[in-house]
Symmetry: D2
Subunit: 308 residues, 4 copies
């Protein structure tokens, strides 16, 4: 990346995604470029209008972000270089001068609404929900004159769009987090740190019962644990799936390397999405039989047999 | 169900869901009750305000409908009694008198927008998208005076809300379908037809690598094929999943019955969602070793050993 | 069994098998009937000439006793009711008046010879081995005038046939044991003690690669551990095997019962050989998910779903 | 091998083993060296007193030859270079002048006796069996004056020891075969022919339930079929096994090579016994996903990801 990297992110300003983007190591000097969609953010990287794109990939409550999962499957050429976690905290905010008793129409993203519904039922019993495409766009719309009484958004949005917080942290799950990935053009994977993750998308072979079991055995036979598995439809008809998978370890770990080659043989379509440091920095080394040293010994043994 | 069943469905009128609800066998005499959300539809059944609820569960392009998957996991007491398929056909429609060249602001659900984006880029290059909570609500909003030029919705919505179709079938994937389920209060499963499906939600045991593999082996050991597997976060923290699964066969098939009991032993939480006739009517009988006759023989053999 | 049971055993008198047979609970009052072969011992049970037959099934050094494994597969109608362990201790013995320096021709069973070969090479360097059909028959032959200088046999044989021990415990492996089974006519299995074993013979389905893997999954899916697996040719051509298996638990354990039924469906030919108390009395209860209580709960759950 | 190879074989002359040894490609010019035991034959190779050793490894009726299986596990340094099949045909033979009605004491190896027992019961009802260490040694003993009336052996033995055949082909199973292996010092494996077998001995990890399942998955994950699996006790105590395995393919097949490396990581002790042409010449190429070309593509793909 250049000295002043250009970082595209799912905007508008004030979203949780921007908070994630600002965690990128050299973010201090970066230029931030909000986009209207995940695909637009990826397009900016592919067209070299941005060095990096930051998009949400998974929420601890809502699950995988389909738009991102599918964009990664359908827009080849990008790779994950890092991941970032952002705690999800929702505030109810409105134009200055509004009080809670004035609130009836609440504009926000459906996921945010689902998280805050219990609080609203308790505190604004007769409210109605107007869906928005993101929490920040809701705040921006309200500030721009959209007909609503309040929005639910991240605190950052209040400052950015001149709104006042009526109630803080009104989400149901206080431990909720969203995980974001930092994407760049395909290239050499981020260096191995010993606390790494490898992401792939694997399409199952057609019409083979037990295909998922076979795929999982490609990992199991090499002692590789999975930290995430998300099914997505291939999209041509019901019953065909691809799986977005995060595996523990780095492509420079032989257990991962051999599992990747196994998947490549097994699957009609496997996409390597990158090896990168885990946000939680927890160790990813393969133990015992599946450590690099065990692979090295096995390889030397094989050579000694073949080349005797 | 009573003679004139009350059928709640994810509204408003004119959605694809209504088209599914009208496929229910005794729909002709039914009273149709649109709801604002999936959870509201389920609530109506749980509170006996409706006999049945019809909600979308899976789209061949967009995948599982998270709101339904999660509601089924979190709102115990309902059961699936049938499934229905509706082809997804999107039309661009506007108030009478509008021509295609007038269109700039397009109001619709994000999924519908994604499906029609290619067509819009080609035919309405400078359009902007305003998200709506459903295609039918978009049509309803436009008819009620919402500031937009056109909506994308099902043809039925045009008639219902007095709009005119500007362009037909503008979606990218002409084979796209949505699958809907018919829910009622928990009860005796629908009778076995020989072309059946059984749905369950299975939570994986905590912190056991290979848990998913073990779960799949509960099906494999009984020769049961899966037609769908969808991962959803349990919601308390990253890395914990439950799986929404459709298996081939009926709870009266011994292969399914034994697999269900295996899951019950294996999983900290397994929810039976019902056995019901497949919409595509394709055969679900277990062959050879896993047919009911083979189970019967094995059971008799065991008894002969134990009771000698 | 009658008050004074008739116990057939692989003779002649003085074999390790007799030592095992004398461990049977009511052996004190029994009539002991030596036989010339394993099949003869089984025949006596099948023809009601004996109440029980005791035959060796496995040696900790030499492995499975093929004659017994195959007789159990080919002579249906018998069942295992108990198992007994006998430490294998070999003595070199000869007619009274013989000294070690006189020994050149050593008569014994090949397995006994293999075990004592190191000692003989050290102490009787120029010896030759004459094979006998059992250690006791070697002692009997020597006593009856067979041309040899010494025999290797169990201590009991020396007393029985009037021989003198020249050297004691000359076997290589001091922990060697032989396991014997007590057979009777097919009938109600021995009662469950909580420290049980279940034995079966399972033929693999024809020409299905991965058949052995599938068979093992029938046990694994029910959490059943195996303490022994012995492959034997089916005998019609190369590459077809049946497996003699000892599994941990009793047919009254639901995990075992369901695994047995799974094998019955899977295999073209499965023979139940009995459930009986382990000789080592170590616990065989299935834990957690696979305990009888878990099966009971799963069964009740299934009923509640079906019969709602 | 030298021009006039020295071939040790399990003797004496006239055994089925000699018939196998004479099938070795350059046997015409060879010097044949009978040995008294399998271990002696291997010792001759290890001590360079013979270039090759030929020993029986499996019989289609009696199963694995334990002496060979165990010698291969315990005497490192030898390797299999070929395999040969010999049909097993048993004849009853005696000294010239003997007629069938004179026969009472029948000397032969127990396995041969078991095969011919039905015929003897029919034709020599009152016979007795005297066990010998091999069929050929029985013939040799009878010719040398041993007290018996007849022997059961291969036809070749009659000629060799001057006996007369009283009855031909009296074994029960007319398709019975014995498989023999040609052993030499460890070295470069026999060249790949496309109809190959790879033999290994694999010890299971200690005290891990499901160890056998894990081992089989090392083969399954690479699509490798097994043509033989024989369990043998490790010998220190009950319940510990090693497995003698024949897998389809050659060490130059990547599927085999990777499976071997997987076994090396998994097992505390794995012995490579060689890759060599199958006696039946049936094809051993791995198809589709597991062909060398698929491995090559996967390897190149991995390199392209790592080295981008």
């Amino acid at each position: 990346m250049s000295k002043a990297p250009r970082i595209a992110y799912l905007g508008p300003a004030g979203t949780f995604t921007e908070m994630a983007a600002r965690q990128i190591p050299n973010a201090a000097s970066a230029e931030f470029l909000p986009t209207a969609s995940v695909t637009e953010a990826l397009d900016m990287v592919l067209n070299k209008l941005a060095d990096r794109a930051v998009v949400p990939i998974e929420n601890s409550i809502e699950g995988g972000v389909s738009a991102t999962s599918d964009a990664l499957a359908q827009m080849p050429g990008v790779q994950i270089y890092g991941e970032y976690l952002v705690p999800v905290r929702f505030d109810l905010m409105a134009k200055p001068g509004t009080s809670l008793s004035d609130v009836s129409q609440v504009l926000t993203h459906p996921v945010a609404y689902a998280q805050c519904r219990s609080w609203l039922i308790q505190n604004v019993p007769s409210h109605a929900h107007i869906p928005a495409s993101s929490t920040a766009s809701a705040a921006k719309s309200l500030a721009s004159g959209f007909q609503a009484d309040a929005v639910i958004a991240a605190e950052a949005a209040a400052k950015l769009y001149g709104l006042e917080v009526l109630a803080s942290d009104i989400g149901e799950n206080k431990q909720a987090q969203t995980r974001f990935v930092e994407l760049g053009l395909r290239g050499k994977p981020a260096p191995k740190t010993g606390a790494d993750k490898t992401s792939v998308i694997v399409e199952l072979p057609d019409d083979r019962p037990g295909g998922l079991l076979e795929m999982l055995e490609q990992f199991a036979a090499r002692g590789v644990n999975l930290s995430r598995i998300e099914s997505r439809p291939v999209g041509d008809r019901f019953g065909r799936y691809r799986f977005n998978i995060d595996a523990q370890g780095h492509i420079e770990d032989e257990a991962i390397a051999e599992a990747l080659m196994g998947l490549h043989r097994f699957s009609p379509n496997v996409i390597f999405l990158g090896s990168y440091q885990r946000a939680d920095k927890s160790e990813s080394k393969h133990q015992g039989n599946n450590a690099n040293a065990a692979y090295e010994k096995a390889k030397n043994w094989l050579s000694s047999l073949r080349e005797f």
